[in-house]
């Protein structure tokens, strides 16, 4: 069931600058969808329009098929977790979490019971009487999460909630958010610029760029089959070859080089791409499909692998990640681009 739909959402500033262009997507009940994109791509604006904090220029937002554009922010029954926590400084942890329930006119004993439940679920019971400023960043964000969950929102909105935390905390809180979201069956929309974060946490990923949507798919699909050049670049494809001519549905010509695909493409491609870690060094020097000669012109240690830059005779510079340290600057090598790892991009 679709819990929330966004239809033809557009937004531009008074000076005519377009922030969002025709955004369409939906979030199913109990699903966690993330919006992934670089800063300034319009992901936060989309979230804020759904929350009612900003107004769209056209299009609408609907909950259970009902448009909520005329519903003010404080009546939308949504919750939001902010990047900078945004806790109420003058209230204790308990009072922060109880705030939303109080606004809903719930009785004192019921509030106490419900808050205690959520605090224990988020492991904050011991901190109930502390003020926000006495807590660490990670604790503050857990309070913020508890405050968002306690009201049982129709939609939970998370705006870069992990970006202010250090890496270890980011990972553990990420898992906690996912665990609670699934346990409580909450529908959630998660905004982030971090590819790994969005893949790890969500059922589906929406990739945004320049105010429009580039791709909506599962993390696996986005990773393996990026729909556009932008998506491919954003998720780690670093070698792009312009298509000069399509020879067959599975054979392309890039300059002088014939490139064969494992699968036939349905749409004509403008570009082929491949990740650096999927390219192999060939020791046999046999003539194979998709192989070509080159000379190592740069070598960098990345930790997990060495990054080689190879000047090839047909496809320009190609980046290759390999665990072996065997090749040196100036070495002549032979590369193979596995046909099942080549991705065709239609735009």
């Amino acid at each position: 069931m679709q819990a929330m739909q966004v239809k033809h959402l557009s937004m531009s500033y008074e000076d005519g600058k377009k922030v969002l262009t025709d955004i369409n997507f939906s979030v199913n009940a109990g699903e966690l969808v993330s919006i992934l994109g670089p800063s300034g791509c319009g992901k936060t604006t989309t979230l804020r329009i759904i929350a009612g904090l900003q107004r769209q220029t056209s299009g609408n937002v609907a909950i259970d098929e009902q448009s909520i554009d005329s519903v003010p922010v404080f009546k939308r029954n949504m919750s939001m977790v902010f990047q900078n926590y945004a806790l109420f400084p003058h209230l204790s942890v308990f009072e922060n979490v109880a705030f939303g329930l109080k606004q809903r006119g719930i009785g004192k004993t019921a509030i106490r019971k419900r808050v205690a439940e959520i605090l224990s679920l988020t492991e904050l019971t011991d901190l109930a009487n502390h003020r926000p400023h006495a807590l660490s960043g990670g604790q503050q964000q857990r309070v913020s999460l508890a405050r968002a969950l306690v009201v049982n929102p129709t939609l939970l909105l998370l705006d870069e909630p992990l970006s202010n935390l250090d890496r270890a905390l980011r990972l553990s809180l990420r898992e906690e958010i996912r665990r609670l979201q699934q346990k409580l069956g909450i529908t959630a929309l998660f905004v982030t610029h971090d590819q790994e974060e969005s893949f790890a946490i969500s059922d589906r990923v929406i990739v945004m760029n320049g105010g429009h949507i580039e791709q909506i798919a599962s993390a696996q699909t986005v990773y393996a089959h990026p729909a556009t050049t932008f998506v491919a670049k954003f998720i780690g494809f670093e070698n792009f070859f312009n298509v000069t001519r399509q020879v067959n549905s599975d054979e392309y010509l890039s300059g002088e080089m014939h490139l064969y695909m494992a699968e036939k493409t349905t749409k004509p491609a403008v570009r082929l791409c491949i990740r650096p870690e999927n390219i192999r060094f060939d020791t046999s020097m046999n003539t194979q499909q998709n192989s070509l000669n080159g000379i190592i012109c740069d070598k960098t240690y990345l930790g997990r692998a060495y990054r080689y830059v190879v000047a090839t005779d047909h496809l320009g510079q190609i980046k290759v990640d390999s665990e072996g340290a065997t090749h040196q600057l100036g070495d002549a090598v032979r590369l193979t681009l596995p046909s099942d790892k080549l991705i065709a991009l239609a735009e």
Binding site: A51, L53, V73, F74, S79, F82, A86, F88, Q103, V151
Partner: protein, 270 residues
Amino acid sequence: MRQKKHWLLTLYGYLMLLLLLLPLVLVVVTSFGSQAAITFPIKGFTLKWYANILSQPDFVTGFKTSFAVAVTASFLAIVIGTPAVYALTRRGIHHANWFQTVFLSPTLIPEIVIGFALFQSLVIGIKLPLMPVLITGHFLLSVPYVIRMLTARLLLFDQTIEEASWLSGASKIKTFFRVVIPNISGTLLAIFIMCFINSFNNIPITLFLNGPSLTMLPTAILNYLQNNYDPTVSAVSVILMLLTGLMMWLMERMNGLTHVNEHLNQKGQK
């Protein structure tokens, strides 16, 4: 970080402090002198001038009126100024800078001109009684303080906290009273005290707007000085100093100014 200070700078600092405080010390000392005129050094020691304050009806009623006017004007300035500042800092109002300038303009116009203008237009012109005009004058005097100090505080106050409150189900008005006000109450009290002190000690505006039926303390002191040169005036001054000092101390305790100063410091460092 604590830096080692140069001895010359320290000396200079103390010298300035002495320069500022010496006249006050003289006033305190002369208030205890038993001679009928203010002299220094004093001869003898007496508290009779303090007792004499109470036997001067102008001082007693002046104190009461000044107190009432200062409280009313400061209160009005905060009640009217706070929503204005909130709108200016939060709502992306067109020409916000222009409004800021208008609100701050009483500090740019000489107070004596404001006093004269109010007297000319409201008292002579439309024959309003003195009291409401006097309060208006002191209100105008106080508004710039509210605008200045509260703008700094509200810019410092994270707007997403208000958004979190709206999303939690609190209307914008409820959020203003339940979330914004409790977080700026220290600053509001500090502003109130600042306005109060300013209004209570004001002469230029008050001078035009008092009369036989309306005695204010600062003008009462001036009048008294014209006829008598005895230490009663010193004694009144000491009382006023103590009152002001007490309020400054209260203000510091409320921590209201610290926030504003921190904000200004942060801006200065950027």
